[in-house]
């Protein structure tokens, strides 16, 4: 490169720059995609199960807000969110809910939301101004496409499922005209049970119960696949402990912290509006990508 000719010199420099760009490109794009295979779950939508945890009515109020956070996010992303079932409390809270979110890469983007979400704030009803801590448990399940039929041969067989109606009806038939549409499914091999009673239509309740059952079984299958891959235990994000506290929404300090990636964001409102949530999702996705990459290097 010590060529006395200035033209040659600049040519060499250009070449060098070129090479650098190419190398960086390789390092940032090509290597990872060579080492880390494309996500096998990219096509899956998601089903979110939300359950109020500690904190009584404050917890169920927060659940309503979390649910709104995810439906807002869905709107921004152009996904379709449908509340499949929810049981509301008498005070505008929600004890539990199932939300179906359909679209491209929904499951891949949302799956790290599984875990315990903690809120710290002064409840509207608290007269002494004391800060309470309450929790909501979020479970993100992979949603397989609804093929119209109840069975999904890859996941279960019809004779493995016990279908029960829930309440007694006395003599039934013409003697009784009370609406009785609640359904419970039990997947006998795994013991998974799903109950559904929100709809007046037994048929609808049954359809939705099967939808949830399929999602739970799919989740099981994926989790098994993950734990069967030996190196994954080391990764922080993908260790799927759903009872772990993953994020704190601290209203007095106006701060949201994700405990797995250590990311803290000011402005709780922007997170609850869905927009701020994207920063966490991006951070978590990056963390996952890095984990996979590290895994891949270690096993080269």
């Amino acid at each position: 490169m010590q060529d006395p000719d200035p033209t040659m010199q600049s040519l060499a420099r250009e070449e060098q720059d070129d090479l650098l760009t190419k190398l960086t490109g390789l390092a940032e794009k090509t290597f990872p995609s060579l080492l880390v295979p494309p996500s096998p779950t990219a096509h899956l939508s998601a089903m979110l199960e939300l359950k109020a945890g500690v904190g009584g009515s404050e917890s169920s109020l927060f659940l309503t807000e979390i649910m709104r956070m995810y439906t807002r996010l869905a709107q921004m992303m152009g996904w379709q969110a449908v509340v499949v079932t929810n049981s509301t409390t008498d005070h505008g809270g929600t004890k539990d809910a199932v939300v179906e979110i359909k679209g491209e890469k929904v499951y891949d983007m949302l799956r790290w939301e599984s875990g315990v979400h903690r809120v710290q704030r002064v409840p509207a009803t608290e007269v002494n101004g004391r800060v309470h801590t309450s929790t909501v448990a979020v479970l993100v399940l992979p949603l397989v496409e609804d093929k119209g039929s109840e069975v999904d041969e890859d996941l279960f067989k019809m004779d493995e499922v016990r279908i029960e109606v829930m309440r007694a009806r006395g003599a039934g038939g013409q003697h009784v005209n009370k609406t009785e549409s609640a359904v419970r499914l039990t997947h006998i091999p795994t013991g998974i049970t799903v109950s559904m009673q929100d709809e007046r239509s037994q048929h609808q309740n049954r359809r939705r119960a099967f939808l949830v059952l399929r999602a739970r079984l799919m989740d099981r299958k994926l989790t098994e696949e993950v734990t069967n891959r030996r190196d994954v235990r080391r990764s922080l994000v993908s260790s799927v402990d759903r009872s772990e506290k993953i994020r704190t929404y601290n209203f007095p300090q106006d701060r949201v912290t994700d405990h797995r990636i250590g990311l803290s964001l000011r402005n709780v409102a922007s997170v609850m509006d869905g927009g701020g949530l994207q920063d966490f999702l991006d951070g978590l996705a990056k963390k996952h990508q890095d984990d996979l990459l590290e895994e891949a290097f270690n096993t080269l």
Binding site: Q174, H175, N177, K178, T179, D198, Q202
Partner: protein
């Protein structure tokens, strides 16, 4: 917030009548119905609905509808509200008998009420596989069944004689007639035999009638419930004997046909015997409902 308190008040009222769990669900369904109706016309308010419910009126009449399988049928007093037990066995029958457009069948539903049984079968079976007829003595029932038929899209074009109605569609025709009148088939322009005969006839014995829940006794047609219309006593099985006679004397059922009748709790064995002895249908099976009560007798030759 104010509407919140109002709802709480309504919920606690309703809870006192139905229990908390049912009250919560029913209030929610009322609110849903109001939201869905709000685009068209707002008939009544939530408070009015709750007041009607508190007075014992069935939810289905208040909301004006009842789901039946994937169908959503109109419900209107005094026509009997379709029951989940009936829904269940009708779905099962749709898998037990499997007609196709190349092997179409005819079906007769006796005591058709809202038309729920034939309409669900028309919906579940392939297009062009069934021509169904239903008979009821109550003009309110026939009116409602006709509306339901139109909503579901199974009406017969009235300007065509039945034999020329397009065969690529399933059709259902409700007919006003008294099945206990020995000449009703001829009068109704019905031509036996039928491949499938279904019926959920009135089966409640007189002695059980007075202790029925008020939402049944005071709002649903007694003609739809009382199993022995001409008698103050009885086992509630009059209609099964009439149906057996039709099968035996009028060749109602095709040789390879299927008869399916719903029965009340504890009646299955007796009805089975009536169908074997009087209808001369030797092969019978009893189907249980989801609550494990013997609910349907299916009979063939």
């Amino acid at each position: 917030m104010r509407s919140h308190y109002a709802h709480l008040g309504l919920l606690s009222q309703l809870s006192s009548a139905l229990g908390h769990e049912s009250a919560r669900l029913e209030l929610r369904w009322m609110m849903q119905a109001l939201r869905e109706a709000s685009n068209r016309q707002r008939g009544s308010s939530l408070a009015e609905m709750v007041a009607r419910r508190m007075s014992g009126e069935p939810l289905q009449y208040i909301l004006g509808s009842q789901p039946f399988g994937p169908l959503n049928l109109l419900a209107r007093s005094p026509v009997l509200i379709p029951r989940p037990e009936t829904e269940h066995w009708t779905m099962r029958l749709s898998e037990y008998v499997t007609p196709s457009a190349s092997r179409p069948i005819s079906l007769l539903d006796l005591c058709t009420g809202s038309g729920c049984i034939p309409l669900l079968l028309c919906h579940l079976w392939p297009s062009g596989s069934v021509r169904a007829f239903g008979v009821d003595i109550a003009s309110e029932a026939i009116q409602l069944a006709s509306e339901n038929t139109a909503i579901c899209g199974f009406h017969t074009p009235s300007d065509n004689p039945p034999s020329q109605s397009p065969s690529f569609r399933n059709t259902f025709r409700p007919i006003l007639s008294d099945i206990r009148d020995p000449t009703f088939l001829r009068k109704s322009g019905l031509y036996p035999p039928f491949h499938v005969v279904t019926s959920n006839p009135p089966y409640i014995p007189r002695r059980e009638y007075d202790s029925l829940p008020p939402s049944v006794r005071d709002f649903e047609d007694r003609r739809a419930l009382l199993g022995d219309p001409d008698s103050e006593q009885g086992d509630g099985l009059t209609f099964y004997r009439d149906i057996a006679r039709l099968v035996a004397n009028e060749k109602l059922l095709a040789d390879d046909g299927v008869l399916a009748v719903e029965v009340g709790k504890g009646q299955a064995k007796d009805v089975e015997r009536i169908l074997q002895d009087q209808a001369k249908l030797p092969k019978t099976t009893i189907w249980r409902d989801p609550w494990l009560i013997e609910r349907v007798v299916v009979a063939t030759r």
